[in-house]
């Protein structure tokens, strides 16, 4: 047996290193290391509770408003207030804009360039893919960057700027949209829809969102011009529809009032109960304690702890490691294509990527209906009082999965603030019982080491990791 260390993994958000134990060119076990510590849970302690709205977006430059939304939800929970309808719509639009922009960035800038690697030079699709998707110089980058920048102009209207906005408040949004601005928002959504239909899909969003099985997907993609069909051709040729499976236990907090919360276990959905979450520090450079629910969680550094290999805690749901992300959301929502893909081959590389792109097709039309539902002149922000003593929970979905904030307030100040980010779930280390995290499971059995194809790269990036959130 030999051990290799792989890193730095670029084209992910933040820092990642993976140790692989190999036997005859295959991975026998994997250990995922998040080698950067941020310490935001300590930064928040002792601050005025509303300061969380300015602080938590800075955890992450790519999940920035998801962090804001989780904090605002936790504070609203503590205050006992609910945003008015316009405030809800504005928040959904802000969150959806970030999540979809992230899906786009992931696909074009982070994920697809791996197919342009020289290792695939012999494959029939390689020359075209390298021309289009090579990092920085590929043709696609010059088209996707303006499409992304234009789409994020929604944030200029709705949130002032992106990333790092203070527009999302416990009571709703600070930015009332006028009747005239509603027209501009719809125009921006139409422009983005145009890019997706012409370049990404080569078909209408409605047709893509309506694909209902793996067979229908493959028949649709056959010979079609578009970046999604191009991905499918390369990924199926490499067998990525059958690789990268973790434990097939999925979890979602639910999003936009559209995709329900739930747990996916043994091929069907079950009720999600946040009280069953606990975080384990056995293999993190943090002091040992029995697994704690985040409402009672602690983050205390133990930098020289023996047996530890990462700054990431190990969140577990009822003792199980669970995968989060777009695939989990779409399983809980019962999307027939994702149900079929998972029924065939579990949570594969292809299933994760397809789930993200299906969300693009599903949500852009939904965002148009949200804009139309805004009633200019009616309130965007409810007012409320913060208690001197209290607690709150905010559970939202970032692009890459479930994000939770748990806070308590004492004498008018933040007493405790604990966060579980999506990649904390997906890239968690082993726990006290030695149970590996989802990526650690997904890598077992794959080829790696000298002369191996870059399969590991595809599997790692298929989770769309955000390491800076992981190690908040």
């Amino acid at each position: 047996m030999s051990r290799i260390v792989v890193g730095p993994f670029n084209r992910v958000e933040g820092d990642l290193e993976i140790s692989l134990d190999l036997e005859a060119g295959r991975i026998e076990s994997a250990r995922v290391n998040s080698p950067l510590f941020r310490g935001f849970e300590q930064i928040l302690v002792g601050r005025a509770p509303l300061d969380a709205l300015a602080i938590v977006p800075r955890i992450c430059g790519i999940c920035s408003v998801a962090q804001s939304a989780a904090a605002a939800a936790a504070l609203a929970d503590a205050m006992g207030i609910t945003p008015p309808p316009n405030g809800q719509l504005a928040r959904q639009l802000i969150q959806a804009t970030e999540n979809l922009a992230d899906h786009l960035t992931h696909f074009y800038l982070f994920f697809m360039p791996d197919f342009a690697r020289p290792a695939y030079a012999g494959r029939p699709w390689h020359a075209a893919v390298a021309q289009r998707f090579t990092a920085i110089s590929g043709d696609a980058a010059a088209e996707v960057l303006p499409a992304r920048a234009s789409f994020l102009k929604l944030m200029g209207f709705l949130a002032g700027r992106w990333p790092h906005s203070l527009a999302i408040q416990p009571g709703g949004s600070t930015r009332a949209i006028t009747a005239g601005e509603r027209i501009r928002l719809l125009a921006l959504l139409r422009e983005f829809r145009g890019f997706l239909e012409k370049r990404l899909f080569g078909d209408s969003l409605a047709v893509v969102a309506g694909l209902d099985s793996k067979a229908a997907l493959l028949a649709w993609a056959e010979g079609r011009r578009g970046d999604f069909p191009t991905f499918l051709a390369a990924a199926l040729d490499l067998g990525l529809d059958k690789l990268g499976r973790a434990g097939d236990i999925f979890l979602s907090h639910g999003a936009y009032g559209l995709f329900p919360a739930g747990l996916w276990l043994q091929g069907r959905s079950a009720v999600f109960d946040a009280s069953r979450i606990a975080e384990d520090t056995a293999h993190a450079w943090l002091i040992d304690s029995p697994p704690r629910h985040p409402a009672n969680g602690e983050t205390i550094v133990a930098a020289d702890k023996a047996g530890a290999y990462t700054w990431c805690k190990a969140p577990r749901y009822a003792g199980q490691s669970a995968e989060v992300g777009a695939l989990a959301r779409q399983l809980m929502a019962g999307h027939p294509l994702l149900l079929d893909l998972v029924a065939h081959d579990g949570g594969s590389v292809v299933a994760r990527v397809v789930a993200r792109l299906i969300e693009l097709a599903l949500l852009v039309p939904t965002m148009e209906t949200w804009v139309q539902a805004i009633r200019p002149g009616e309130p965007f922000c409810a007012q409320g009082q913060l208690p001197d003593e209290g607690s709150g929970v905010g559970l939202v979905e970032a692009a890459r999965g479930s994000l939770g904030h748990w806070l308590s307030i004492r004498r008018g100040r933040i007493e405790r603030y604990q966060i579980i980010a999506p990649t904390t779930w997906n890239f968690s280390p082993r726990d006290t019982d030695g149970l590996p995290g989802p990526l650690e499971q997904a890598l077992v059995g794959l080829p790696a080491g000298e002369g191996a194809p870059p399969t590991v790269q595809h599997v790692v990036r298929s989770f769309d990791p955000c390491m800076v959130c992981t190690v908040h």
Binding site: P8, N10, S64, R161, A167
Partner: protein, 331 residues
């Protein structure tokens, strides 16, 4: 001009912001100005050993390069070891990589307030991360590289401060250097490029009419001026945020929330709640830059008494409730 980019104790948001550069696609814009990335952790093709080889060749002086861009605070802890951030696949502290690379770079750019001054990473009481900026520890010169550091091109670290940075600040700084060069007179006393830090966020603020009359917002989403009650520091913060739009048409003030002065060293620990204005005897403590207090108080009293009904009523609503009067039949 060859640019090498590293990320450390930060959120990656300055790169995400940079990708929004307009009007041209970022990569086309930079390429046509003769600017190329030697390596960028979020954007480059090369990964793993190949990437480490590129970095090592730059750090040893074997591959010449022009600009080292660093994004994120320098984490010196615990106990000076730098273990809070080790380079993946290599195990050496990032602070060591930055020191080695900075000694060979012609110019060093701090991308964002974390990199320039320490930012939020340095704001935990007692600073257990031992976080700092490249050449500052909040307002105090020093930081990782030391107050006397000058890169081979003769400049201290160029601090493109902001949390995040505006894409235009980074693109214009790189292009200024590539096309015209940069000198100490292009920077202010905190090392920020004057082309954007020579303005105040207040300049071009869409709430200026409310400011003039001291018609102040009292709660989130009100249209009025955010200075008196809701913590806005636009009259003290150095940046051109309301002259150079964010994401097409935005800015913090246009988004309806306070400027928290994210381009200033130490902005992360203001000593008061971010969204509240600290006051003494009812008067905001942080008065506009360059304005004597007595003038401000006198002017505020006068303008408050002269506030038109339209401005006063709109300031406390989230949409225009009284439109400007239309005068008919005359000039």
């Amino acid at each position: 001009m060859k640019v090498l980019w590293l990320q450390s104790g930060g959120c990656g948001g300055c790169t995400q912001s940079l990708l929004c550069a307009e009007p041209r696609p970022l990569f086309d814009e930079l390429r046509d100005a003769g600017i190329e990335f030697v390596w960028h952790p979020a954007l480059s093709q090369a990964s793993g050993e190949e990437a480490l080889a590129v970095l090592e060749a730059c750090a040893s002086g074997q591959t010449p390069f022009d600009v080292l861009c660093v994004e994120g605070a320098m984490l010196r802890g615990p106990s000076g070891s730098g273990k809070f951030h080790l380079m993946a696949g290599n195990g050496r502290p990032l602070i060591e990589w930055v020191e080695r690379l900075a000694s060979h770079a012609r110019y060093v750019f701090a991308i964002g307030s974390c990199t320039a001054y320490g930012g939020f990473s340095a704001s935990t009481p007692g600073n257990p991360l031992e976080a700092c900026g490249l050449q500052y520890d909040e307002q105090t010169p020093g930081g990782l590289l030391g107050a006397d550091f000058r890169s081979a091109g003769g400049l201290p670290v160029v601090n493109i401060a902001g949390c995040p940075t505006h894409p235009g600040w980074v693109v214009d700084s790189l292009e200024k250097l590539a096309l015209e060069g940069m000198s100490a007179s292009d920077l202010d006393e905190f090392g920020r490029p004057l082309f954007y830090a020579g303005e105040l966020v207040h300049h071009g603020c869409p709430r200026n009419e409310y400011y003039e009359f001291k018609a102040s917002a009292e709660k989130p989403s009100d249209l009025g001026c955010l200075m008196e009650n809701l913590g806005c520091k636009g009259t003290q913060a150095h940046a051109d945020c309301n002259l150079r739009a964010w994401n097409g048409s935005g800015s913090c003030l246009r988004g309806g929330f306070a400027c928290i002065a994210c381009t200033e060293p130490g902005f992360e620990s203001p000593g008061h709640a971010f969204q509240e204005t600290p006051k003494l005897a009812g008067i905001p403590i942080g008065l506009p830059t360059d304005m004597p207090k007595a003038w401000f108080v006198a002017l505020a009293a006068l303008s408050k008494s002269a506030t038109p009904k339209r401005v006063r009523e709109n300031s406390l609503a989230d949409h225009t409730v009284v439109h400007p009067a239309v005068r008919k039949g005359g000039k």
